[in-house]
Symmetry: C2
Subunit: 368 residues, 2 copies
């Protein structure tokens, strides 16, 4: 067991409390876990008391109210509630997929340096893991999923392909046209998962979601989350969208009461406040432009970012700069467990968090 990829391989970002206590710093900022630094909609905070009165009751097993709201939001895609499955985070949807479609006779394909949970859940399902080479540009930077490499690795045993779009931890994106062409050319019995955890952040660039492809390609499962732009990472709620047949298969793997009542209720409140989503999108774009211009000024290599985070290449100085930053109260995410030990992942913070990072980072590089 100890040699296998499991929960023990997953290293969450260092906690604020730990850094406060270790380095005796009062004001610690965490730009490590790609949470929305502006938090959830204020409506969530105003409505939390309505949840509490029913907290001793079991939650609705079918998450009906939330599904109805999602159907409305997704209405232009001919999605109805039978195309939806709610998960304890989108991670749970990914897990249902592995458990429903993978076993020790199957192969699963995903790009090297994509979300670690694919490897964890595939290992738990005893499938053979095929990691494909990422696309690289002329500077030999990792640019995320290469669909051609995936295509080459498809065999008669391939059951599931995981594609994060935008990809975590590299922040890269694949154009929807390329995904459509890819889908046309692969066998229809292979489940293709398009993990859109960061979709809302990429939408400002008119990047299209794969949800539109589900009608034509019933083998596609799209996953989404309330942990990112909706600011509800703490409540654990996400969802999957696919053909009714896939949803029924996945549903048979869930527990009767997998989604807590606070998540069901407050995700619905958050969904209803699209102004907050737009505000966070705008602030993320501003922050991203500021961080990119700083990296350009400092001559720092980074990967093209399409989410709410940016992955920077610090070469041999990575570990020492990570440690120096943390000793100054700024937590980024090291990516050793993604085999990217020369990179750090940085969540775009609030304006003041970004300012502080730029100030400290520039000084550490002796450029200020």
């Amino acid at each position: 067991m100890s040699n296998r990829t499991s929960i023990f391989s997953y290293k969450p970002g260092q906690s604020i409390e730990y850094v406060k206590s270790k380095y005796k710093i009062k004001n610690v900022i965490k730009l490590a876990s790609n949470e929305n630094p502006y938090g959830s909609s204020k409506q969530v905070i105003l409505n939390v008391k309505k949840v509490i009165k029913d907290i001793y009751r079991y939650p609705d097993s079918h998450s009906k109210i939330l599904k109805n709201s999602l159907v409305n939001i997704l209405s232009h895609n001919s999605i109805n509630e039978n195309n939806l499955l709610i998960g304890n985070g989108s991670n749970e949807i990914l897990e249902f997929i592995a458990r429903a479609f993978l076993n020790n006779q199957s192969e699963v394909i995903f790009s090297k340096h994509s979300f670690l949970v694919y490897k964890i859940i595939s290992t738990l399902s005893n499938a053979k893991i095929i990691e494909t080479k990422p696309r690289q540009n002329k500077y030999d930077q990792y640019l995320g999923t290469d669909l051609e490499s995936i295509m080459e690795k498809i065999s008669s045993k391939t059951k599931v392909i995981f594609i994060a779009n935008p990809n975590n931890p590299t922040g890269t994106i694949i154009d929807i046209t390329d995904i459509r062409n890819f889908l046309k050319n692969i066998p229809k019995h292979i489940i293709v998962v398009i993990d859109e955890a960061y979709y809302e952040y990429s939408s400002y660039l008119n990047k299209t979601s794969a949800v539109n492809l589900i009608r034509k390609f019933p083998n596609v499962i799209v996953t989404r989350t309330f942990s990112k732009i909706y600011g509800l990472a703490g409540l654990r709620i996400g969802y999957g969208i696919s053909s009714q047949k896939n949803i029924r298969t996945l549903t048979s793997h869930r527990q009767p009461f997998n989604i807590n009542i606070a998540a069901q209720y407050l995700a619905n409140v958050a969904l209803d406040d699209q102004d907050h989503v737009k505000y966070c999108l705008k602030k993320n774009l501003d922050g991203m432009n500021y961080i990119i211009s700083t990296f350009e000024k400092l001559g720092i290599d980074y990967l093209s970012p399409y989410g709410n985070f940016i992955t920077l290449n610090l070469g041999k100085k990575t570990k020492s700069l990570y440690n120096k930053l943390i000793s100054k109260g700024i937590i980024l995410r090291p990516l050793e467990n993604y085999n990217l030990s020369n990179y750090l992942r940085m969540t775009i913070g609030t304006s003041s968090e970004n300012d502080r990072f730029v100030d400290v980072f520039s000084k550490l590089l002796n450029k200020k």
Copy 2:
């Protein structure tokens, strides 16, 4: 898939909203899901705002604070945090057990008419299910788990035994001395799960927990929940207690962030208010005595209850009485999916809910 036992076999109690709307009744009471009718500790309600400020952050992957509190509560049992695993409800711990220890080569044993989730998760793990005959008294009433029948069914393929104590849905209990003797006589590689969801309710009769057996029998896994006496069913939180080796094995099957932040924080608050637990115990005992005396007066057969619910035998009138009760705004739980179609399960309610039930039920039987 459709012939298999799965989530689709689980029928939650009818919802209050549905009954209100169907029968045009304003005041509907639900005595169907064994929730604590007195709700959670008031401290939970007072503290909910403290959760909300961190709701956009991922929860602590290790549930450290809650584990520390549980260690304190369980201290006389030499339990430390490495003996604990927190689940998204104790159902999730049960699921980890099935996934860790069962496969298509294994056999799993549990008593007929025990908690349906054992069957659901064992089926999902492709194990062969052996259901043993329950103990019956001279009136041929179902009296729950018969350890001797389980013993007889153990084979070289037996990997897991599930025992709910008290048992849901029958409410019956097994004496801890009998469990100890049983454990002495079975092979040590067989995992024996003692599901103590209703333990706190049975404790008023000085019924001892199996937690004390874990040191001597490292193959025992005890599960507990915050969904019952702690009044947090809506938040989804439970835990497992076992040897460090078992806990590590089970942990490898969990997601990095399976426990939401509200559950972690508020379970801890609930645990701290043992006065509320004592109050609910007392009220449950009063209500139980009242319902039992009513059944005695009405000549209704029932099974000996050791939880916060009572299972009554209405013979051929079961379905019609269930329907009549629901049409009067009182929801009990039919037990057809437990192969107990002559029985209804009734949660002990608040004093006024119990009064209303007794009034309506007596009239339906023309005894008032």
